[in-house]
Amino acid sequence: MLQILIYGAVSSAIYAMLAVGFTLIFGVARILNLAHGAFYALGAYSAYVFTGLLHFPLFIAAPLAVLLVAGFGVLMERFLVRPLRYSQLAVLMITLSVSLAVEQGLFITFGSEYRNVPSFVADKISIGGVDIGGQRLLALFAGVLVLSCLWLFIQRTRLGAAILAVSQDPEAAQYMGIPTNRIFSIVMAISAGTAALAGVLVSPFLTVQPGMGLLPMVKAFAIVIVGGLGSIPGSILAALLLGYSETIVAYLISSSWTELVSLVAVVTTLMIKPSGLLGRRAAF
């Protein structure tokens, strides 16, 4: 029972980090970023290169990986997405092709075999008689920390207010003197950075291989649809819901069935309440 509670929290934290970045860039810039999974995979591979090959300590490797991927995201937004923003379809196509290009690039450089990332925290910690790997606890705490910081940043700072303004009405925000394009770049950096951090954190206990980004991205879609496109609290709530239901399904039935959970969740949400749990706008 306690095991379900803790393992569910860990996977919820990872899902939440992915989904919040995805929903943020959609909510603010209306970019449906299909390269989000590629950021996650790039984060995991950077962790592999920095800690596994170059033997950097974690507190240098992790920020380095996050910065690298955030920079990549900003460049992608500036040079590939922005010129095509006139068409939603073109944006989808370009981000999807970036994600394929990244996957192929990783495949060509590192090969298709699984890569092992040395563990950051070797100890196991026992909570109420349940052994939890330090890795997973680290992922949980880092996830909660990052999401709370992000929440405070958006709600409490001037820049956060500007981001909120752009998300509500980009044109009006522009008239008020908010540099919308710079806001898009900043939000893209945050979104890519959180995805990369999720990738870094899971790299020691999940398999690192070129196609690793697709399935978590699909889960992020599912969470974002269930929570309501563009709503951050909705994504966190849906991440908890999905993370726990997957863990429970894995315990009660079998881990093979977990993949169905997100599909069922998406279909049910779209049938019953298409705007999602906390979506403000109706999807109709």
Partner: protein, 309 residues
């Protein structure tokens, strides 16, 4: 849209004649095989274009229907040992059933839900094929399908005939009143709804037609390869089809079909590049998105037809 003009018809006859006669003149089984794959990809591209090109609802999981059709053929052959000809209608039925499951909850909505749901559904189907390997054969897939027609040349002609029929039917539908409605939906969905058009019905029906041809193509592909495997469901298949449509010129049906044939031939020529092939594909797509948003083949043909007239 204008009706199919004489010059378009003449162009189509020339292209089909060249495609049909090339393997006879060169007499190589390898080339016949490549052309068969070309024709199957052309069916997929044309069927994608009918739904997504006309209504503007981008389908990022066409491989769901392709894989559903192919696996139907695979199960019929390896589990029930049915006559291979049954697999064509069965594949169509199953693919249409899949389109109902995904389309019904998502197509009545606006926004990106349909694109996301299709991508999700195809990715999850691929995972399920690997997870339930006892039934689906896992990584290796299902083996031992029987060919529909023994002679590769005759099979190629059969596939080509299906392609011609598919393009003809889809073009006729696209040029009809019906196609006009689909284009109107792409233009402004709310206005269509206000004009009393049952938008959801038309989107759903066009998705079902699109899925039917994709599933048919999937079964043809299964009986060409004589096996089916999970990569048929992969996003790579969907994106390959979409790139072909883009090269051909979105919304023109014949353009995507030609784009598929040319790109498949190009892929065969690029085989030497091995791992870099998909990269070249992706870069092609990026270049086309930036420099040729209307595609390559359809605009070229329109200009040529204008000259010849």
């Amino acid at each position: 849209m204008t009706r199919v003009s004489l010059i378009d018809l003449a162009g189509a006859i020339v292209v089909v004649a060249v495609l049909a006669l090339t393997p006879m003149l060169l007499n190589s089984n390898y080339l016949t095989g490549v052309l068969t794959v070309c024709a199957i990809y052309a069916i997929w591209a044309a069927s994608w274009d009918f739904m997504s090109g006309l209504t503007g609802r981008e389908n990022f999981g066409h491989s769901l229907f392709i894989g559903a059709g192919a696996y139907t053929a695979g199960f019929l052959a390896t589990v029930w040992f049915a006559n291979p000809w049954y697999s064509l209608p069965a594949a169509v039925v199953i693919a249409v059933a899949f389109s109902l499951i995904v389309g019904f909850p998502t197509l009545r909505l606006r926004g990106p839900y349909f694109a996301l749901a299709m991508l999700t559904a195809s990715a999850i189907m691929q995972r399920l094929c690997l997870i339930f390997w006892e039934y689906s054969g896992g990584e290796e897939g299902l083996y031992g399908l029987e060919p529909l027609i023994l002679s590769p040349l005759h099979y190629y002609w059969f596939v080509l005939a299906v392609l011609v029929a598919a393009v003809a039917i889809l073009t006729a539908l696209a040029n009809s009143h019906w196609g006009l409605l689909l284009r109107a939906i792409r233009g402004d969905e709310a206005t269509c709804q206000a004009a009393g058009i049952n938008v959801t019905f038309y989107k759903m029906a066009s998705l079902m037609i699109s899925a039917a041809f994709a599933g048919l193509g999937g079964a043809l592909y299964a009986h060409y390869q004589l096996q089916v495997s999970p990569p048929l469901f992969s996003v790579v298949v969907s994106i390959t089809v979409i790139i072909m449509v883009y090269v051909g010129g979105i919304g023109s049906i014949y353009g995507p079909a030609m784009g598929a044939i040319l790109l498949t031939l190009l892929t065969e020529m690029l085989r030497g590049f091995g791992e870099y092939r998909l990269w070249i594909y992706t870069l092609t797509l990026m270049l086309i998105l930036f420099f040729l948003p209307n595609g390559l083949i359809a605009p070229l043909w329109r200009r040529l037809a204008e000259r010849l007239r």
